[in-house]
């Protein structure tokens, strides 16, 4: 077969042989570089969370390590989850697609149950269980990936017809609607992009793709106009100094942080904006603090690392010998990439400010643990790929 290989390292696929059923044999070492990159990024996130939050934590909780400790716990749990998932046989997950979707929808719906839902900054996005809070939208993203991958893998022919794609659309839109009601526009956008992206990656015909994408594109302006605060944010984004104390404040403070960073940054732990000027400095706007402390150079290196993870993720997807693994890995990688990009676009003022964490880096345990677990799953797939590859070569 002739093909120009976009992924030269994936040559192994050429040697694939169906003579070796995928379910047999032992897994290999997997993509260790991918694994290391993920762990390094998450560990770097813990350091950044400490730097960005220590002053706020001291003022608010009397303990400068408050957010750091929480993030450290999340990191430890995330590592454990990664390790546990890495040794799973991911193909078994194919069966839990529908339950995962149902669980996601239930959790999202529970947010609206008085007493369970927790409100913050005018939005109800969290579920509270005593001292623990969970953000169901973070879980729902992965629930959707599990469902979609499982659904298509069961009968890939579903991809060919619009009606076959409909259940995926239905599940995605249901999640979107529930998240939108919280409200959380950016995560909605993220899930929307994930849905379209997965259908695209799944190989749906161009005609069906158009039929799906055009209404979605049409929906965006409608959603913006529907909620007045979104319009305000949009105008603040065009000229933040028009309302420096209201809508424009967040963006201005982010820009100040970036501007203060220049090329080399002020040095780690030496942000000026984290002294309560920049809201959400340890969570959604942690990238502003990173840009301030490590400068443009630091931003460049950080996104080089993120891009490396995305590239390796797609490479693993490409090397995958089954459709389920391909969909799973490309979905997880896609949502990680989209979310990273959206966060950076928000922080640099390319799109209106919305609340979306930088995956693996921002403070927030649900996001951290779930993302690390997802990355564990990608690694798990890479281990199985290698086993196949190894056998393929020896043959």
């Amino acid at each position: 077969m002739k093909r120009s290989s976009a992924f030269p390292a994936a040559e192994g696929t050429l040697k694939r042989s169906s003579a070796f059923p995928a379910a047999e044999g032992k897994a290999g070492r997997g993509d260790l570089l991918f694994l290391i990159a993920v762990v390094v990024l998450a560990a770097y996130g813990v350091v950044c969370v400490y730097s960005a939050s220590c002053y706020n934590a001291e003022v608010q909780y009397g303990d400068s390590l408050y957010f750091f400790k929480k993030q450290l716990v999340g990191f430890a749990v995330g590592l454990a989850a990664m390790a546990a998932i890495a040794f799973l046989d991911y193909r078994r997950l194919q069966k839990i697609g529908i339950p995962a979707l149902i669980l996601s929808l239930v959790l999202l719906a529970l947010v609206f149950v008085p007493g369970l839902g927790k409100s913050n900054y005018g939005a109800t996005r969290w579920l509270g269980f005593g001292a623990f809070t969970v953000q169901p939208s973070e879980i729902a993203k992965y629930g959707f990936i599990l469902f979609t991958a499982g659904y298509f893998a069961k009968d890939p022919a579903r991809m060919r017809t619009l009606t076959g794609v409909l259940p995926v659309l239905g599940g995605g839109i249901a999640i979107c609607v529930l998240i939108m009601l919280e409200p959380n526009m950016s995560v909605t956008m993220c899930v929307g992009a994930l849905m379209v992206g997965m259908i695209f990656l799944g190989g749906v015909s161009k005609k069906a793709l158009c039929a799906i994408c055009v209404p979605v594109l049409f929906l965006v302006p409608v959603l913006i106009v529907a909620e007045p605060y979104r319009l305000q944010r949009l105008s603040a984004f065009v000229d933040p100094w028009a309302s420096p104390k209201a809508e424009g404040y967040q963006l201005i403070q982010s820009l100040y942080a970036l501007g203060n960073g220049k090329f080399f940054g002020t040095g780690l732990f030496r942000s000026r904006q984290k002294y309560r000027f920049l809201p959400f400095s340890e969570s959604d706007f942690i990238l502003s603090v990173i840009a301030e402390e490590t400068g443009f150079l630091g931003v460049l290196l950080l996104f080089a690392l993120i891009f490396f993870i995305v590239y390796r993720g797609f490479r693993i997807a490409n090397a995958c010998d089954n459709f389920y693994g391909y969909m799973l890995v490309s979905g997880i990688t896609l949502v990680f990439a989209v979310q990273s990009a959206l966060n950076a676009l928000v922080v640099s003022g390319c799109i209106p400010p919305t609340g979306l964490p930088l995956p693996l880096v921002s403070a927030g345990n649900t996001s951290l643990i779930v993302t690390m677990a997802g990355m564990g799953l990608v690694y798990c797939v890479s281990r199985h790929n290698e086993r196949r590859k190894f056998i393929g070569y020896t043959n």
Partner: protein, 586 residues
């Protein structure tokens, strides 16, 4: 590759691979967009952003510049500063308000409750605890280092001589900016450039730990050297104080000028006020007391104005104007003149040969009004108004002082003869005392008119003179010859005429008296006079010129008896102070 698992799903391998590649390309594109944006913000836009951000990162405590001194022509300090300190607080940075309030109350001698209220007032970002307090109190506060409490130099303005030259010096506002007088006119030099202490704080103003405060030093203001001579000012004030009391007058004023360059040696406005205790609570009183009436108010000069009329006539006569009356001209002896059907009378009854067969010299000695009516009418409006312009009536003299009045001059075009005739002897015209003094100075100094001035130098503490105000000749009024002739006549007025009480043996005082009735609401106010005298010495080369005005003296009201003696005392005082030798002695 028909054995490929993916192929078995019914798709060609290349479709999925192409799609993966397309998504990766799209993600790369997105990454490039925001990285470009980061590049722009962090490397191209950063200066402007940093400049804007600095403002929110710091809180500043002002460092006041030391205000420049005001000294007299010999360096005598007339306005200086006393080191004092302002105490400020930022409630959001205060850690232990109760303890802080206790210390502040103890050091400043204020109540604990009011201090506690200030230290807990988080509505304001910065609170003035006390605007000015003594150094000892601040030292006490500094020892304890209360978090959130700051202090900075904030000098108090001090005037060593209290009320001396109070309207000239002026006073300053609470923030030490000049409000009136020289303090205001030269404020831009005196005030200097304030500095700042910048504290790095968080959003709500809490100091950052370990951050050092940036100190931007203040630049002290420049000093101003006046042309005033403290000694002459002080003795003139003494003389006028006495005149005010003895005549039970409403006000007593005097200007002493150096006719050689119009530098002001003394300016006295009584009653005055203590610059160290400005009556800020009574705006009307303060406004009246702080007004430099010599510059800002007008009055009808009366007979002192005859100097101008005489000077104009002599000059025209010397120029050969046939309309001008010669110094040898004998004026008609009648007491009255009829102009435009109105009758103008002399103040004297002209009985028993008084004011008979006068020449100009005698007319000046006697201050005979009809003679000056004749002079004015002889010269005509056009010529006479040219002289009024040259002597700067109806115009600003250009003195370096705010609020100069230009006087009131009836417009030449619509001037009636009866009014014109009265201008000849100083009625129907309103001038400022400064205008009259300058006109007289120009008439006796050879006909030179300089811009009067109060300041001679702007200098810094190290003695460097940054600006020197040189005498500025504005124009000529009369010729040197005319001036000499007039001065000789005026010397006669003091020796033989109405100015006798200003006479000082062998010091050659020349001068002219004046007595004007005051008008109120357009009618003559009965019993209200302005007695004045303008004179100079020595007559051959005048060095000192004084204009004395006593407003509404009770009892005797003639300039000759009320004002001339004051001039004599002032001149005697100057002779003593300057140790001037009598004529011939040098």
């Amino acid at each position: 590759m028909e054995d490929n698992i993916i192929n078995k799903t019914g798709f060609s391998l290349s479709v999925l691979q192409k799609r993966l590649f397309a998504v990766l390309a799209a993600i790369t594109f997105l990454f490039c967009i925001f990285l470009g944006r980061f590049f722009y913000i962090q490397l191209l836009w950063e200066d402007e952003l940093h400049y804007r951000a600095i403002d929110q990162w710091t809180r500043e405590i002002p460092v006041n510049a030391g205000r420049g001194k005001i000294v007299d022509r010999n360096g005598e300090l007339l306005a200086g500063n006393r080191a004092m300190y302002g105490v400020y607080a930022r409630a959001s940075a205060v850690e232990d308000a109760e303890n802080g309030a206790r210390i502040l109350a103890g050091a400043l001698g204020t109540s604990y409750e009011s201090m506690l209220e200030k230290l807990t007032d988080k509505a304001k970002s910065e609170i003035v605890v006390v605007r000015r307090t003594e150094k000892s109190a601040v030292e006490q506060i500094a020892k304890t280092e209360i978090a959130g409490v700051y202090y900075a130099r904030n000098d108090a303005r001090v005037y060593p001589y209290g009320a001396l030259a109070s309207q000239v010096l002026g006073f300053t506002a609470y923030d030490n900016s000049g409000t009136t007088g020289i303090e205001r006119y030269y404020d831009s030099y005196l005030k200097g450039q304030s500095g700042e202490i910048l504290f790095e704080t968080d959003l709500v103003g809490v100091d950052l730990k370990g951050a050092s405060a940036a100190y931007l030093p203040a630049t002290d203001g420049l000093n101003v050297k006046l042309t005033l001579d403290y000694r002459i000012q002080a003795l003139t004030e003494q003389v006028m104080e006495r005149a005010l009391a003895e005549n039970n007058a409403k006000a007593a004023r005097a200007i002493v000028l150096d006719p050689r360059d119009f530098s002001v040696l003394a300016m006295v406005n009584l009653p005055a006020y203590d610059l160290n205790d400005v009556p800020r609570g009574e705006p009307d009183l303060l406004n009246a007391l702080s007004r430099n009436c010599l510059v800002s108010d007008v009055y009808e000069p009366g007979s002192t104005f005859k100097i101008v009329t005489a000077a104009a006539d002599i000059e025209e006569y010397l120029k050969g104007n046939p309309a001008a009356l010669a110094p040898t001209h004998i004026f008609p002896s009648s007491r009255t003149r009829s102009v435009d059907g109105t009758t103008i009378k002399c103040w004297s009854d002209h009985k028993n040969g008084k004011h008979a067969n006068q020449t100009l010299k005698e007319a000046l000695n006697n201050s005979c009004n009809p003679c000056f009516v004749d002079l004015a009418l002889a010269l005509g409006k056009e010529t006479f108004y040219d002289y009024l312009a040259a002597f700067r009536f109806g115009r600003a003299t250009g003195i370096d002082f705010s609020g100069e009045a230009i006087g009131m001059l009836l417009p030449e075009s619509s001037l009636r003869d009866c009014d014109f005739a009265r201008i000849g002897f100083g009625q129907s015209i309103a001038v400022t005392p400064l205008q009259l003094a300058c006109a007289a100075a120009s008439a006796v100094n050879g006909g030179y008119y300089y811009a009067p001035r109060l300041v001679s130098e702007i200098f810094s503490d190290d003695g460097y003179v940054s600006e020197r105000v040189k005498p500025a000749l504005i124009g000529r009024t009369v010729s040197e010859q005319a001036s000499a002739m007039l001065t000789e006549m005026l010397e006669g007025v003091v020796r033989d005429g109405s100015g006798k009480k200003a006479y000082i043996e062998s010091y050659r005082v020349a001068g002219k008296t004046g007595t004007a009735q005051k008008y109120e609401n357009g009618a003559i106010a009965q019993g209200k006079y302005v007695s004045s005298f303008v004179g100079c010495f020595p007559a051959n080369a005048p060095r000192y010129l004084a204009l004395v005005i006593v407003d509404e003296p009770q009892g005797s009201y003639y300039g000759s008896s009320v004002a001339a003696p004051c001039a004599r005392e002032i001149f005697s005082g100057i002779i003593d102070v300057m140790q001037l030798q009598p004529e011939g002695g040098v």
